[in-house]
Amino acid sequence: MSVFSAIGEDREIDRDEFTPGIEPQATWCPGCGDFGVLKALKQAMPEIGRTPDETLLVTGIGCSGKLSSYFESYGFHSIHGRSLPVARAAKLANPGLEVIAAGGDGDGYGIGGNHFMHTARENHDMTYIVFNNEIFGLTKGQTSPTSPKGHKSKTQPHGSAKDPVRPMSLSLASGSSYIARTAAVNPNQAKEILVEAMEHDGFAHVDFLTQCPTWNKDAKQYVPYTDVQDDDEFDFDVTDRREAADAMYEAESRLHEGEVLTGRFYVDSERPSYGEEKRATEEMPEEPLAERYLDEDAEWERSADLLHHHR
């Protein structure tokens, strides 16, 4: 029996396998956009052909962070803003795993902003889903980094004086090699985009618009939306950085005005992933490092090999 026999298992996979037979009752509010992410993710998994045992879902903290509780796979419900460093190390340790990180806009663009920038820059081969509901959900409705300017909340009673973060533009500038935006109200597109993101060899960032009917009643429910790939108005080349940047800027500006544009905004399939880069410079082993610990025949070097420098 191989050490990680779940990895690379070749069989028909059913989306129901991703529903935990435990705590099936999600604590999300009725009508919450988070249900849409969960559904799209479960639908995407059979298409990419990955089983629960070879998938690691690392989440942050927030309503969104609970995704790992309602999705059956290896899961890591980490701490606020830190899902990315946990996830990317797991991918380096065992590149055979399907690694997905997920969290909210506060989690990813606020407290975890630095990790977002650097994980994108390194282009780790993983998928990052940000539940963007323009609000802090779990802590009960405070202004988040994506809340529109002028947004009023208990902690910003006079209305936020800050411009919201532009997640896709930030992502492009940071180095993500796949960037898309989708919305919970559009399950088919959402599924397609998640499939692409997971199959992409590099850092795939999906800004996932999710409505929060409980704390963000004013905000649009992200309908009607326009798919930029289906609309002639947005005839841009997703592989061209400049065109992609313009399209993102446009989409982000229009969202502030209440118009929802979704779809793929940037795809770079040429750039090698971080793992490939590191293997090319021999800074990372060819075989998954994690396997060696369970392989009785593995050979290990000792520090004694270095002692001659000290004589």
């Binding site: 050490v3 990680f4 779940a6 690691l56 509780s69 990317r88 190390a89 994690a290």
Partner: protein, 634 residues
């Protein structure tokens, strides 16, 4: 014959480090025991720096009291590219000669570069060298080191001239020094250095009469020796424990270990990551370990503060990691290149909730190796974070040890990890989820699976969770999980108490009246003081404590029972270790007083001796730079 305590002083960037390292190695190869002590400012060029190399035929425990040979190299600003450095740095115009006279022992030797250290410098510093030399019986040798170097090579090689002069004055063979140079250099550079070495040696032999007693002692090792720093020992222990993942962010003095492992792990099939900050660094260690790789991170005080979050996450998710905390003087950025033991409470209690971690504070280079290995083993067997805490002194000091000490079998066992075959036999929830966090486990350890293993699925959560890992606020589950996690510490304490080689070290006569209690890097210095005190007719013993959590209650209690009174020696201003002892043992308060030092320097043995006099006589004052705090309730 007295032991040699050689100080080489100059500006940062003068090659003081490499020269002293080679000199120490040469003495080691000549059969002596050596110890080096580094002093350097937080800047890249200029500024005053020195390294002391102490050598003896007997085991050397500390830097010793003062020093007895000064090799004063050039003016630290002589080659500073900033023409106005003197004005920019104000009074920091440090001269290696004038600056280093205060701790030079009676009968000591001074070699200085006459080309750079002129009368004027001394005058400006208000030093009458001749008078002081007479008063202290110093033997002064002004030599044209720079000229010699220039004549046969380049001016920067004047270190070599200094070493040649040292060898001549100490009646030392050049053979080992030459061999080391041949290892390190080639071609013209080697030729020039060898030439300079010999010329300096000959010049001194021919031109001077020696009337000093100091000679290189003779020694003889039975075994091949290696010269190692605390940082080397920590890094090598990690390699031998199968650590193949390191993530970090530079911060002095942790950077040493980070650099060593970053250079070696990729060659050893591992992965090294320099990341955006320390939160990420420790979180990466957690992620890699969760995915089945033995991993490590670390920092110094400020960066360790950022690691507080992932440290707690590792405790709650029971993910093994090893963190190194290399302390420097705080608070905040403090004094980056100066040692202190001020982060004790920080490493013990940082992060929310009850601490469930192992904390070790090795005493010296060899213990750095042993305890780092133990930290990995315990972290992976018991699934918790282990913190090894050293300081700027221990990270940089070098000592010799038998090579065989470090030549050991690796341990690559990932600890309490199940194989797929074992997982298939293990308990699962009816949904198919593996019960990763089962309540029972007598020693607290519930074995884990690794992502990618078939049927090992579970949720690791930083929230309180059920046996399958799902978030739970059930009171019964909470108590069961909390109790199980805390039981690990009892089990570890039991294991450590049983261990053949306890890391607590008793030193001095068993039936002594007075006790000295010390932790971490100051242990050996205090042991040297114990010898001095007993030689002077006192009755003193010491206990050096290297295990901080779980705390070695019975060993410390037995020690304190056995003495009338006890002085706790530590490098911080608030007596943190004394506080820990009282907290853990809940008694002995009136028996404990403290000798504290927090001026950025580690203890010298005589300061401990003088501090001890204070307890006995109640009148003596403690040496400058130390502070005496009497027992509570006195």
């Amino acid at each position: 014959m007295t032991d040699l305590m050689w100080r080489i002083a100059g500006g940062s960037g003068d090659g003081i480090d490499s020269t002293s390292q080679n000199f120490a190695k040469a003495l080691m190869r000549a059969g002596l025991d050596v110890f080096t002590h580094r002093h350097y400012p937080s800047r890249i060029r200029g500024g005053h720096t020195y390294v002391e190399v102490r050598a003896d035929s007997e085991p050397v425990r500390s830097r010793g009291d003062g020093f007895n040979f000064l090799l004063a190299l050039g003016d630290s600003f002589a080659r500073n590219p900033q023409a106005d450095a003197n004005t920019v740095y104000g009074n920091e115009e440090i001269k290696p000669l004038s600056e280093n006279l205060d701790d030079l022992n009676e009968g000591g030797i001074i070699v200085y570069d006459e080309g750079l250290l002129d009368e004027e410098t001394l005058e400006r510093a208000d030093i009458d060298l001749e008078a002081r030399a007479e008063e202290n019986d110093w033997h002064v040798f002004p030599l044209d080191l720079r000229g010699l170097a220039r004549e046969h090579g380049r001016e920067v090689m004047r270190n070599t001239a200094g070493v040649g002069a040292t060898a001549a004055l100490l009646d030392m063979d050049l053979e080992h020094i030459e061999a080391l140079m041949e290892d390190a250099m080639t071609g013209d550079v080697l030729e020039a250095n060898l030439e300079i070495l010999e010329r300096a040696y000959d010049t001194v032999r021919e031109d001077y009469e020696f009337d000093h007693d100091l000679r290189v002692p003779t020694g003889d090792h039975d075994e091949q020796q290696v010269l190692m720093s605390g940082s080397n020992a920590v890094a090598y222990a990690a390699i031998d424990e199968g650590c193949r993942f390191i993530a970090g962010y530079p911060m002095t003095p942790w950077t040493d270990v980070f650099t060593i492992l970053s250079q070696h792990l990729p060659k050893f099939g591992g992965i090294a990551e320099q990341v955006e900050d320390e939160i990420a660094a420790a979180a990466l260690a957690v992620g890699a370990s969760h995915a089945g790789v033995k991993s490590m991170s670390g920092s110094s005080g400020g960066g360790f503060a950022l690691m507080s979050e992932p440290l707690g996450l590792a405790e709650m998710t029971e993910t093994p990691i090893v963190l190194l905390e290399a302390m420097r003087a705080g608070p905040s950025t403090g004094m980056p290149t100066k040692p202190e033991q001020g982060d004790l409470e920080h490493v013990l209690y940082t992060s929310q909730g009850d601490s469930c971690r192992v904390v070790f504070a090795p005493a010296n280079v060899t213990e750095c190796y042993e305890q780092t290995r133990a930290a990995f083993r315990l972290a992976y067997d018991y699934q918790l974070p282990a913190v090894v805490v050293i300081d700027q002194k221990l990270s940089g000091e070098m000592r010799n040890a038998d090579e065989s000490f470090f030549d050991r079998e690796p341990n690559t066992d990932p600890g309490s990890v199940l194989t797929e075959a074992e997982i298939s036999e293990a308990a699962h929830h009816e949904s198919g989820k593996f019960k990763r966090y089962q309540h029972g486990a007598e020693n607290g350890v519930s074995p884990r699976s690794i992502p990618g293993q078939k049927d090992g699925r579970f949720l690791a959560s930083g929230n309180e969770h059920t046996p399958e890992g799902h978030i739970s606020e059930s009171p019964t589950n909470r108590v069961a999980q909390m109790d199980r996690r805390m039981r690990k510490l009892d089990a570890i304490r039991g294991e450590l108490d049983d261990a053949e080689s306890s890391h607590q070290t008793q030193y001095g006569p068993e039936d002594a009246e007075y006790g000295l209690l010390v932790w971490g890097s100051q242990q050996d210095t205090v042991f040297e003081a114990v010898d001095q005190l007993n030689d002077a007719g006192e009755s003193v013993k010491a206990l050096g404590v290297s295990d901080l959590m779980p705390f070695p209650e019975s060993e410390v209690a037995a020690f304190l029972e056995s003495v009338e009174s006890c002085m706790v020696v530590e490098m911080n201003a608030s007596a943190q270790f004394r506080g820990l002892v009282q907290r853990e043992l809940g008694r002995f308060g009136p028996k404990l007083n403290s000798l504290l030092k927090y001026n950025g320097e580690s203890f010298e043995p005589h300061e401990v001796v003088d501090g001890f006099e204070r307890i006995v006589s109640q009148e003596a004052s403690v040496p400058e730079g130390t502070k005496f705090v009497p027992a509570a309730g006195d």
